[in-house]
Each structure stands twice: as structure tokens, then as C-alpha cells.
């Protein structure tokens, strides 16, 4: 049962990483244009997509 002492905190850490990752995606404005993101992968882009210039997007963590 000693393995629980290792695995239980480990699984909580994993969950925590997921939450932090979610917060990061939220702050970096990845949910601001969900429809557009789904369609953009279909575009043949000779040069990389311009950085987000949406004025309503959050600029950096606040």
C-alpha cells in the first residue's frame, strides 16, 4: 500500500497540471474565436498566421 503515498500525490499533481494548462489557454485567448480556430486549419497558408490582433483578446496574464 506504500505505493499509494507516491501515486496519490502524483495523480493530484497531474490534475493540477491540467488545471494550470486550462487557465493558460483561457488567458491566452484561445477560446475567443472557437469557430475560427476550427476553420483555420483548412487554410493553405504560405506564411504563418499573424499573431492574434483581436482587440477584445486579453493581452497577457493579468
Amino acid at each position: 500500500m506504500n505505493i499509494l503515498l507516491l501515486l496519490a500525490p502524483f495523480s493530484v499533481m497531474l490534475g493540477l497540471v491540467a488545471v494550470i494548462a486550462f487557465v493558460w489557454t483561457l488567458r491566452s485567448g484561445q477560446y475567443d474565436d472557437v469557430k475560427g480556430a476550427a476553420e483555420r486549419i483548412l487554410i493553405d497558408e504560405p506564411n504563418p498566421i499573424a499573431p492574434t490582433t483581436d482587440p477584445t483578446a486579453e493581452s497577457g496574464p493579468n
Binding site: V12, L16, G36, R40, L42, A50, P55
Partner: protein
């Protein structure tokens, strides 16, 4: 402001400098739907000189363009987009920036944390609840599990519960109890009991129950917020489409474009034919013909002489006008009407929503039940700890989760369905009010009718004869003639005589189109709903116009009558015109010649007689009545003030949408009541069970989740419902 007039205008006022020192132009693009649209729009716009980058947000239709300083003409960008087939208008993101969705982000963050907490705390609870400790696991592991559950669950519960605690605290301080009070009490008590159990090496800990409860409640909160936010942003976009610029004439006679808000009293402004008068202003030069139909409902154009006041909102029908502003934009006839609207909106905010009514009953009952359980259990010889756990189980099992979800879930499904059908719902309360309506009041011009003159019963040869001259003019009547005639030759040497008509050469012969006296006919009727045409030396012919009813107006009225509602017209127009329209669409009751105050008063009278009035109107003259009515609908073509005052806005040009909105509102009310019924039934079964100790807090949380699921599924039935 229509889209086609936007192209020819000076829009440089819309290029704004941001905090980072770069110039930015924001446009609202309609019609973009797919990857192809994105690449076409972004590609075309980035290729224009002066554009550094362009990024389209497909969800909101906003195109953000970064431009090199002063090197861009927004008109060209809009023109280029129009060429691609995407109408666009400048948009001021200032307001949108202010109301950034902080609330929504806070909720979704709390939701994420609650989800994380629920899953991880439950991970430690499963062995506890599965009874593994009697078989395989020792008491040391058990204590560790409880502490782990506490370490994960408690902070998450406190963080995620903040929304509820704050709101409960606010309402308690105001001396009232809302639905957040039992939630907060339940969660805090659960946490306290769980901690004491954990510390005292007791049997039960319910950290997982507390967090999962909050998780489910937050889903309901977030749905409610999404509904409000999406409605608000869509309404904002509609208003942004009308964001007007004003053409200002400076001392040297140069024209400059400024935003409407910057106009001050005494400024000289210029208004082109077809444009709206931006502020109350005195006519400086010439004679004007104004369409006041949005202001007064009177569809016949009104002549205004030099030195007279032109009211904001009127449309300039002929000739270039120079005016001197009498007042800034906040301080005009519009402002007067805005005051009337405010008064109306206040009287409407007294309306109590279904959920609030349920909460008013619910909160005291639940608290009483919990207190009774605790006191009763103790008095009957239970030990206080056991009695407290039962009381908490009562609070949790009866948690207003299903109640909290009952209405938002229904309303978000209903509004999504209506939005697809071209109706924008501005608030959930609007749907509830709409469902109660039993009397419908229509405005005439622009609602039952197209709101623009249409040619009636004129021989084709006459139309064809007048067409070349009509094509050369911007006047709505001339445009109606040109529409009927189709494409063809255009007259040359055209001179537009303000308020009289146009004159030009057709095949070398001089011809005139306009008022009877102007064309050279002794005045017979002087009616404003006719136009005369004649060659200088030939016979004169008459072209008659009327404002035709919308194609689906009669169908809409019939559908409303079939649903048992009574229908009436309140119009500012002359009796004869109103009667004709009333007869053609099948409305038996009508009143004419009403001023804005009269309309509002008429609505008040109906309300005083116990009728729940739905007002459908578009004009400034309807705005006050829209605000006073029990529920209000404005077409998308309505002016800003009316759209603000209305609960629902029709985004497509179909009047039948009114009937659809009514149907959906009624069925969503039915669903909401079903949900309340279910929640009540559930509580009637679950609460006594918890009182006699059949339910521990964890099972309570499970039962409660089940009840919310049922409620949500019931709401989803609306999507398919006819």
C-alpha cells in the same frame, strides 16, 4: 445608415490609436462563414496599401486591422470587402473593451477548479465509500485518504464557492435571502463537519460532495451568464452597425468626418441625400424635404424651410443640406425620448422572474426543514453530530441545483433556437414576459409595411418612360420607380431640385419628374404619395405610390389571431393610410395620428385594463411605448433607441418571426414550469428521506446531480419541439 451609403463616406474617424501606439481599424463583417471566407478576407485586406495585418474573428465577425500611421482609407477597405461580397461597417471596440468578459472568465475558472476538485477528491473518497477499509485497507490509509481528500477538496470548494458566498453575503446584508444562501450554508456546514470528522478520526467526510455540488451549480451559473453575454454582444453589434459619422464643415469650408458623439452645439454639419440628420439642427441653406417617419410615423415627406428646425432621426430625401447643430447628440429630441424609455424600463424592472418567485418560496422552506431536522433529531435522542449530518444532508439534497438550472437551461436552448431563426433575445426575463402576452400592438410604418414607398398600378410604358430620370435620383420614390423598371439608360444633364424633383435630358428631350407643380400640372390633390412625369412639351402622367404591407404581414396577423391574441395598430400616420393597411392585413382595431406620448399612454391604458401587451415597433415614436409594454420586439431595421428599448430584435426581414418567438417563449415557459414541478417532486421525496437519515450527504449529492441532469435533458427537448 445602410451599408451602401457607408462605402461612399469618409470613415477616417474610425481609425483609432491604441495604447501601444499603433493605429487600428475595427470592422464588423457580415457573411463570413468558413475557412475560405477567412483566407479571402484576410488575404484581400492585408494586400491593401497601408495595412500591416488583418485578423478576422469568425465567432464574432470582427475584423481587426492594424494599419501604418495615417496611410489608410477605411472606405477603401470597406469597398474591397463589399467587392468580395462581405458587407462591412466600422465598429468602435471601445465599448466592447470596457465590458470585457471578466465575469465569464471568473465563472469558467471557478468551474475548472471545481471540476478538478470534484474529480480528485472523489478519487480518495471512492475507497472510503466502497467500504474497502473493513477488508483490505488499514485505518492509517483511511486517515491519509481523508486528509488527501480534505487537502484537495477544501481549497477548491472555497475558491469555487466564492461566487455563491459573495452573493449570499450581499443579499444577507441587504436583509434578504436569495438562493445562494442555502447553497453557501450547505457548503460551509459540509466543509466544517468534514473537517471535524477528519480531525477526530470520525467516519464520514464529504469534501467531494461539497465540490461536486459547486461544480454542478456553476454549470448553471455559467449557462445563465453565457446567455446574457451572447445576447449583449449581439445587441452591441447591431448598434455598432449604425455607428454614424457626421460630416463637419470647418471655417475654411473643408469637410471633415467626426464621430457622432463629438458634435457640439453650433457646429456646421452637412447631410447628403439619403442620410439621416444626426442631431437636432437648424437648416442654414435651401429647402429640405425630410422623411420623419421614424420620428412621427407619418410616412409622407415633410418640407422644411430655411431657419427651421430639422429633428435628429429624420432622413434627408433630396439635395445636399447644410445645417447648424442646435444641440450635441446627448441633448436633443432623442434625449427626450430616451427619458421616456428610462421611465418605461423602470416600470418593467418590477417584473419578478419565475426563478426568483420559486426562490422566495423555496429558501425559507429549506432552511426551516434543515433546522427542524437538527432540532428534532436532537430532541428525539440522536447525538448532535448525527443530527447535524442529517440537517446538512437535507440542505444538500434539496440544493436548488435543479431549480438553478431549470430556467437558464431552458432559456439558453430557446434563445439559441430563436437566434438561428433570426430573432435576438436580449434577456431571459424577456422570454418569460413574452410568454404571458395576450395583446399585440403593431406600429404601421416599417413594421407591418416595408417602410418605403412602392409604385402601384401604373402601366409599364409609363414606368419605362420615366425610368431614365428615376435612375438618376436618390429619392426613395424615384428609386421605387427604378426598381420596377429594372436596368436601362440613365438621363443626362440631371439637375436635382431639392424638394421638387429632378430634371434631365432623355434622348435629347427635356423631362421632369417630381411634384405636380414642378412638372407643370395644375395641382389637383397635392398628395405626397404621387409623382408626376412629363416631357417639357408633352402630356403629363401620374405615378402613384403606397407603402405596401410586408409579404408575410397578413399571415402573421392571422397566426396571432389563431393563437387567441388580440391585435391592434397604433400609428402616427393619417387615418386613411392606416385604415387601408389595417384592412389589407386583417387587423380590426386601429388608431391613427398618435404622438409618441399617446402611444405610450395607450399602452399604459391597456396595461391598466389588465392586458399584457406585446409592442412591435421600429420608430423613435415607438421607443417609449416599447419600453412601457410588457414585452417588446423591434425589427433589425429599427433605430438604435427602439432596439435598446425592445426585448427582442428581429435580425431577418420576416414578420413571422414574431409568431415563432411567441411560440418558443410559450413552450419554454412550459418547460421551465415542468422543471419546477419536477424539482418540487424531487424535493418532496428526497427531503423527508434525508430527514429520517436515509440519505447521507454523499448520496444526497448524487441524487441532486441526477435531478439536475433530468432538468437539463428536459430543456434540450425544446430544441426539437415544434
Amino acid at each position: 445608415m445602410t451599408l451602401d451609403t457607408a462605402i461612399g463616406r469618409d470613415m477616417s474617424a474610425f481609425v483609432r490609436r491604441r495604447e501601444d501606439g499603433r493605429d487600428r481599424l475595427d470592422l464588423l463583417v457580415t457573411g463570413a462563414r468558413c475557412a475560405g471566407c477567412i483566407s479571402k478576407i484576410e488575404g484581400e485586406v492585408s494586400a491593401l496599401p497601408g495595412v500591416r495585418s488583418a485578423r478576422l474573428n469568425l465567432s464574432t465577425g470582427r475584423l481587426a486591422i492594424e494599419v501604418s500611421a495615417g496611410a489608410i482609407d477605411p472606405g477603401r477597405v470597406i469597398g474591397a470587402l463589399a467587392g468580395l461580397g462581405y458587407p462591412a461597417t466600422p465598429y468602435d471596440p471601445g465599448a466592447a473593451l470596457q465590458q470585457r468578459d471578466r465575469e465569464g472568465r471568473k465563472l469558467i475558472l471557478a468551474l475548472a477548479v471545481a471540476g478538478f476538485g470534484a474529480m480528485n477528491a472523489m478519487m480518495f473518497s471512492v475507497p472510503l465509500w466502497a467500504g474497502l477499509f473493513d477488508q483490505e485497507l488499514g485505518p492509517a490509509t483511511r486517515t491519509m485518504m481523508m486528509w488527501m481528500s480534505a487537502a484537495v477538496g477544501a481549497p477548491c470548494a472555497i475558491f469555487a464557492g466564492m461566487t455563491f458566498f459573495e452573493s449570499a453575503w450581499r443579499s444577507l446584508r441587504a436583509g434578504r435571502a436569495n438562493m445562494d444562501v442555502p447553497i453557501s450554508v450547505g457548503v460551509i456546514l459540509t466543509l466544517a463537519i468534514s473537517f471535524s470528522e477528519t480531525i477526530l478520526n470520525g467516519r464520514d467526510a464529504y469534501f467531494d460532495a461539497a465540490v461536486s455540488l459547486l461544480f454542478l451549480l456553476l454549470i448553471g451559473r455559467w449557462l445563465d451568464h453565457r446567455l446574457k453575454a451572447s445576447a449583449r454582444s449581439a445587441a452591441g453589434d447591431l448598434l455598432a452597425l449604425q455607428a454614424p459619422t457626421v460630416c463637419l464643415v470647418d471655417g475654411a469650408g473643408r469637410e471633415r468626418s467626426i464621430p457622432l458623439g463629438d458634435v457640439a452645439s453650433g457646429d456646421r454639419i452637412r447631410v447628403r441625400p439619403g442620410d439621416r440628420i444626426p442631431v437636432d439642427a437648424v437648416l442654414e441653406d435651401g429647402e429640405a424635404l425630410l422623411d420623419n417617419s421614424l420620428l412621427t410615423g407619418e410616412s409622407a415627406p415633410e418640407r422644411v424651410a430655411r431657419g427651421q428646425l430639422c429633428r435628429a432621426g429624420a432622413v434627408n430625401l433630396a439635395g445636399l443640406l447644410t445645417l447648424r447643430a442646435e444641440a450635441g447628440s446627448e441633448d436633443s429630441t432623442l434625449a427626450e425620448i430616451a427619458r421616456l424609455i428610462d421611465a418605461g424600463a423602470q416600470s418593467r424592472s418590477r417584473y419578478v422572474r419565475l426563478a426568483d418567485r420559486a426562490a422566495a418560496l423555496y429558501v425559507p422552506v429549506v432552511h426551516a426543514a434543515a433546522v427542524l431536522t437538527f432540532a428534532g433529531g436532537w430532541a428525539l435522542g440522536l447525538d448532535p453530530r448525527e443530527a447535524l449530518i442529517r440537517a446538512v444532508a437535507v440542505l444538500i439534497v434539496t440544493c436548488p441545483c435543479a431549480l438553478g438550472l431549470a430556467v437558464p437551461a431552458v432559456q439558453i436552448v430557446a434563445s439559441a433556437r430563436l437566434f438561428r431563426r433570426g430573432v435576438l433575445v436580449k434577456s431571459g426575463a424577456a422570454l418569460e414576459r413574452l410568454a404571458e402576452v395576450d395583446h399585440v400592438v403593431f406600429d404601421k410604418t416599417g413594421v407591418l409595411t416595408e417602410g418605403r414607398p412602392a409604385l402601384i398600378e401604373t402601366p409599364r410604358c409609363v414606368v419605362a418612360m420615366a425610368a431614365p430620370l428615376a435612375r438618376a435620383s436618390n429619392h426613395p420614390m424615384a428609386r421605387a420607380v427604378a426598381r420596377v423598371a429594372g436596368d436601362g439608360p440613365v438621363a443626362t444633364d440631371v439637375i436635382e431640385h431639392a424638394g421638387l424633383g429632378v430634371e434631365g435630358l432623355i434622348d435629347g428631350r427635356r423631362a421632369r419628374l417630381g411634384r405636380s407643380a414642378f412638372v407643370g400640372v395644375p395641382t389637383l390633390s397635392g398628395s405626397e404619395t404621387e409623382l408626376w412625369f412629363g416631357f417639357e412639351d408633352g402630356p403629363k402622367v401620374r405615378l402613384r405610390f403606397s407603402d405596401t404591407p410586408r409579404p408575410d404581414a397578413a399571415q402573421t396577423v392571422a397566426a396571432l389571431l389563431a393563437r387567441g391574441l388580440t391585435v391592434e395598430i397604433l400609428s402616427g400616420d393619417q387615418a386613411g393610410v392606416v385604415e387601408a393597411v389595417a384592412r389589407s392585413v386583417g387587423i380590426p382595431v386601429w388608431r391613427s395620428g398618435l404622438l409618441p406620448e399617446d402611444k405610450a399612454e395607450a399602452v399604459d391604458h391597456l396595461a391598466a385594463a389588465g392586458r399584457k401587451v406585446l409592442m412591435v415597433g421600429d420608430g423613435l415614436n415607438d421607443a417609449a411605448a416599447l419600453a412601457r409594454a410588457h414585452a417588446a420586439i423591434a425589427p433589425g431595421s429599427a433605430i438604435e433607441a427602439s432596439q435598446n428599448a425592445a426585448d427582442l430584435v428581429l435580425t431577418q426581414d420576416r414578420l413571422m418571426a414574431v409568431v415563432e418567438a411567441l411560440d418558443v417563449a410559450r413552450s419554454s415557459r412550459r418547460r421551465a414550469l415542468e422543471n419546477f414541478g419536477f424539482a418540487a417532486l424531487y424535493n418532496l421525496v428526497a427531503a423527508p428521506a434525508a430527514m429520517i437519515g436515509l440519505v447521507n450527504p454523499f448520496v444526497a449529492a448524487l441524487a441532486m446531480s441526477g435531478s439536475s441532469l433530468v432538468v437539463t435533458l428536459n430543456a434540450l427537448r425544446l430544441r426539437a419541439a415544434r
